[in-house]
Amino acid sequence: MNYKLFFLIVIIICGFLLRFIDVANDPPGLYVDEVSIGYNAYQILTTGKDEYGVQHPLWFRSYGDYKLPVYIYMVAGSMAIFGKTEFAVRFPSLIAGTLTIPLLYLFLEKLVGLEKDTTLKKRLKYVPLLASFFLAISSWHIQFSRGGFEITVGTFFYLLGACLFIMWLEKKKTWCILISILIFILAMYTYHTFRILSPLALLFIAYKEKIYKRSNTFPIVLAVIVLCLPLIIFTLSPSGSERFSATSAFSQLKLTNIWQQIVNYPLLFLGNYLSFFSFDFLFSFGDGIGRHQIPNFGELYRWQLPFLLSGLYFLLRQKKSIYNYATFLLLLTSPLAGALAIPSPHALRSLPLVIPCMILIAIGVVFIIQNIGRFRIILLSLLIIIATYEFFFYLHFYYVHYPQINQLDWGAGYKQIVQATAQRKSKYIYIVIDGVLNYAPEYFHFYDPSIKFIMVNASWQKPKKWGDAPVLYIRPFYGQRSGKNLVANIYLKGINHDIYAQLWEIK
């Protein structure tokens, strides 16, 4: 067997295991967006309608915005096989995350094939394998492949579109470019980031292939417009712009003067854009959102820093290389969508950035090893030791610390509330939930839709007309550890046995 193929298979297996092992339980619980996706997918699977009763919708109404359809329909398919489980919600992301590894290899192999400089071609020989290995162990990519995040699938489509475009450049087969365009459009329907990145990619293809000079490409342009039309109409509609205004970085400035806007908006955008390249984000803290990385870890491993910089340096020196163009194009465009929104930097919205980062690191490793002469063995051994240590350090934090420290970021407690309620629901006429547990309805719909409940605010009193009817009152832990009417405490994981919520009986 070809040694490259052998190593690639090993890398894919490693990547799959890192994304698969205990994925249903770690991250610890489904967070509210995953639950919403799961519930809608189940509704689609069983009734063909979303939670609001719309038949096979293209946009799924959700908390404060509308979700794009591709991931939800994929989860519906996954639920047809695995049932309504946490695993089924995360399965499409896990598979897309794993498949991105060989795809990156293929993409880079094709790029090497197109490289004209034979010396450079030789030097870059190991980059595809190395980059796909780094992607397989990337904490940034693992984090999002293990959750039900649409961005993982979107990134897969985006890279697939780019790969097919490279294949078109190589073989000039029409099907390559047609499928490439279709895949870019599919990415637009997968996650909001690609509503910016995919049109840019399509414009790039149009520019590169000089579509404006050819009359025979008119049907393709027309087809692209028709396929994008629903998304364009949706984006311009009040529902579609809801998300933009909710997350827009510009709306935070509250500038009404047009001249102030002309000066401030581009600067704000530039500041946000640069934040995605900050060392703080990449190597120290990440974006600070608990679901997006382990606390005190950046998006990349610390040992990768010198290699990232040297990869950058090496590519800057290869002025006429296609590797240079492709990597910088990916590097510079990936944060564009994220920079329009707040908070910035944002690890999820900029996940496509992981691809050029892995390429640069791989180039950096190859470049340094090729240039250090007699210290090669020592440096290589040192690199392997440090990288292995930091990788296990990450795994230790991921499996031991993360489920305890960040469980609330993942909606821990809600599932237990539903389970505890389900065990007792027959005893009570009314089930009342404190509004502070504001995501409870989604969790109840997903885990046990048969439970009927009422959401109330914290000052709620039992109405007199309910008389002596027994009521189960579910509320967050307000400090009272015991009481005669206390039915159950909902504990969080961890050695502190913190109480998250309580079930009280009201007579």
Partner: protein, 200 residues
């Protein structure tokens, strides 16, 4: 000759923008904790980590949560703060930050490096340690002498090299554009230093 004049004008303008950028910091008493070793409490950090390690073999706990590793990670974090684009664009201005990286690039790319190239590189790379290890409460004016001036000189070297290579017209335009952005940045987004400065 024309080139020299243009270069001189660019350097003067850069110097003005960089001085104005620094001047914005004179409302600060000191840098925030994110730059100083004094903010580390190793015992507390390790206690916090070990607390969550219940049930983990002691070997792993010792391997992953020890003072050596924690110090290395903490110092790396402090050190990287100095090179962070968000800090750099506020402390040196955007054009200054660009010049520093151009300086690195051109020194590394120079195949006939002289001793002074190496000395400049080493000084610039080691300078942040003065702030990390040193006394945090040093007046910002004094701090600017040892922590700002060398970087700015290095940045000028980088800008000079950048303007002396490749297509000069394009590069002049790039630098002028950066200058304009740096200036607008300074007057419109002046609250960027809040994250890094303790006000007087």
């Amino acid at each position: 000759m024309g080139n020299k004049v243009t270069k001189s004008i660019i350097f003067i303008l850069s110097a003005i923008v960089e001085v104005l950028t620094l001047q914005a910091w004179f409302v600060c008493k000191a840098f925030t904790d994110i730059f100083h070793h004094t903010s580390i409490n190793l015992v507390l950090q390790l206690d916090d980590y070990i607390h969550a390690d219940k049930g983990t073999p002691i070997l792993f706990t010792r391997l992953f949560h020890n003072k050596l590793i924690q110090i290395v990670f903490d110092y790396l974090r402090f050190y990287l703060q100095f090179w962070d684009v968000r800090f750099g664009s506020n402390w040196f201005s955007l054009i200054g930050y660009f010049g520093i990286f151009a300086g690195f690039y051109y020194i590394l790319a120079n195949k006939q490096k002289k001793v002074y190239h190496w000395v400049a590189l080493i000084i610039i790379l080691l300078l942040p340690f003065i702030e990390i290890i040193g006394e945090p409460q040093v007046n910002i004016v004094i701090k600017s002498v040892y922590l700002w001036t060398p970087f700015i000189l290095f940045s000028f070297y980088g800008l000079y090299q950048f303007l002396s290579h490749g297509n000069r017209t394009v590069r002049f335009i790039v630098v002028l554009l950066l200058l304009l952005i740096s200036f607008l940045w300074l007057i419109t987004l002046h609250n960027g230093i809040v994250r890094y400065c303790i006000m007087i």
